[in-house]
């Protein structure tokens, strides 16, 4: 399982990468592997306001549909349009081409309250153990 050191994570398996005032959001390698082949991603439109901890869309495989939770609050400034045609990018490159959206964060400090790579890795292990 790939858990990049440079990212912050939610316990619901989203990641966020701070880029200045923006946060780029996606789902983790563990999440994509658990779902299986992703066949559909539903995302908000540009301009939508996200609130940390609230659902903002779904990611779906034939096996299951899974809600997406905002890791940070802010305004959506870009969504990954490529996922409409190629939702499988989430499986192939969850931390790169499979990104979901870019948020102009209301409070960049929110990221510090999220899990770091170590904590997230332990969280996944504990979930797998149950």
């Amino acid at each position: 399982m790939n858990v990049p050191e440079s990212l912050r994570y939610t316990s619901e398996h989203e990641w966020v990468r701070a880029e200045g005032a923006d946060g780029v959001v996606g789902i983790t390698d563990f999440a994509q592997a658990s779902l299986g082949d992703v066949v559909f991603v539903e995302l908000p439109t540009v301009g939508a306001l996200l609130e940390q901890g609230q659902t903002f869309g779904v990611v779906e495989s034939n096996k299951a549909v899974s809600d997406l939770y905002a890791p940070v609050s802010g305004e959506v400034v870009a969504v990954n349009e490529a996922l409409g045609e190629r939702p499988e990018l989430v499986n192939e490159d969850p931390y790169g081409e499979g990104w979901l959206l870019r948020v102009r964060m209301t409070d960049a400090a929110q990221t510090t309250g999220l899990l770091d790579a170590d904590s997230y890795g332990r969280h996944v292990e504990s979930e797998q153990g149950t």
Binding site: G36, F40, N62, K63, V65, G84
Partner: protein, 343 residues
């Protein structure tokens, strides 16, 4: 059987283009034997058992008195007085009990599920794998079963499947299951195929519009409603359980029927229970759905009111609060290219 060995979509494509190996040993096997076996099978199933010569197989249904489908099965005639029924895993006990309760005269019903493993090698290259590993004649007709010697045991090779592809389903004594799996896996790999799991099995059978008993149909569904009228033989074969109701329903016409739906926009997987509307009015429910790897579109089987069963009918599906346009399309979604072989 795992959901997948690798990626389900990749496994699906391997079966459509080359071959895949499925371990479907969870399926139930019931043996019906005795001088009364033929008459017993005829009385219990909707298809015409008299059409089966030794070595033939038949897709058929087991109905209750109301014509509701208890299970669908493949019935094999192994010997003049010996039949084998392959039934859905979850229904094995129910079917066995039902059969016994019908009072077989001169026939014994035995659950032999534990004795057999069932391995399916499916796809255009499936017969080549079965020929090399099992010794089948690749010209063996569809819906026939032959006895072969492989892996030091007597095995049964049936040219049937549940994927919409050519291929064989091979009954192997449980003791030889691991050796058979390993050998077939090597054979499949040589042909560029993959082991395939339950997820691929589901997308494959859905593209072929093969209903899953317990999901797309059940005791509240008649064969007419399931679109399986072709396995009901009212003319030949005399009486069978449920016949009276089925005759009446054919006269009256069905109120609803299983149809194939294609979503006209990508809006997520249409799942079991999602509502189907016509002009805003609820006319039915999705029974199963998926993203079709072959078509690249979302597809569903749905039970809808008779007025909405014609291909070309526009409907909408309630997908998580959204009303998504869909259309009734001809059944099945996918049909493999003809090879000239029967079945």
């Amino acid at each position: 059987m795992p959901l997948a060995y690798g990626g389900p979509t990749e496994e699906h494509r391997a079966v459509r283009t080359r071959c895949g190996l499925f371990d479907v040993s969870h399926m139930g096997e019931l043996e019906i034997a005795g001088t009364g076996a033929r008459a017993f099978c005829q009385r219990l199933t909707t298809n015409d058992v008299d059409r089966l010569a030794v070595g033939d197989a038949q897709y058929t249904l087991l109905c209750n008195e109301r014509g509701g489908i208890i299970d669908d099965l493949i019935l094999y005639r192994l010997a003049p007085d010996r039949y084998l029924a392959i039934v859905n895993a979850a229904h094995t006990a129910v079917v066995s009990e039902w059969m016994t309760r019908q009072g077989a005269q001169g026939a014994r019903v035995g659950d032999v599920s534990e004795a057999w493993a069932l391995l399916a090698v499916q796809g255009p290259r499936g017969p080549a794998v079965a020929a090399r590993c099992v010794g089948v004649d690749p010209t063996q007709r569809g819906f026939t079963i032959t006895e072969q010697n492989a892996w030091g045991a007597r095995v049964l090779a049936s040219r049937t499947g549940y994927t919409g592809e050519d291929g064989f389903e091979i009954l192997v004594p449980a003791q030889q299951a691991v050796a058979a799996w390993n050998d077939l896996l090597a054979g499949v790999a040589e042909e560029g195929g993959l082991p395939a799991g339950l997820a691929a099995r589901d997308t494959l059978r859905l593209e072929a519009a093969l209903p899953l008993c317990g999901t797309d149909m059940g005791t509240e569904t008649t064969p007419w409603e399931a679109g399986l009228g072709w396995v009901v033989s009212l003319e030949a074969g005399g009486d069978f359980v449920g016949r009276e109701r089925l005759v009446a329903q054919r006269r009256e016409g069905v109120a609803r029927r299983l149809v194939c739906l294609e979503l006209l926009e990508d809006a997520g997987v249409p799942r079991h229970g999602f509502g189907v509307r016509h002009d805003g009015v609820m006319v039915g429910r999705v029974t199963s759905g998926t993203k079709s790897p072959t078509l690249g579109r979302f597809i569903a089987l749905a039970s809808v009111e008779r007025a909405c069963t014609m291909p070309g009918t526009d409907v909408t599906i309630d997908v998580r609060g959204r009303s998504v346009p869909a259309r009734v399309v001809p059944r099945p979604f996918y049909r493999r290219a003809e090879t000239g072989r029967d079945g």
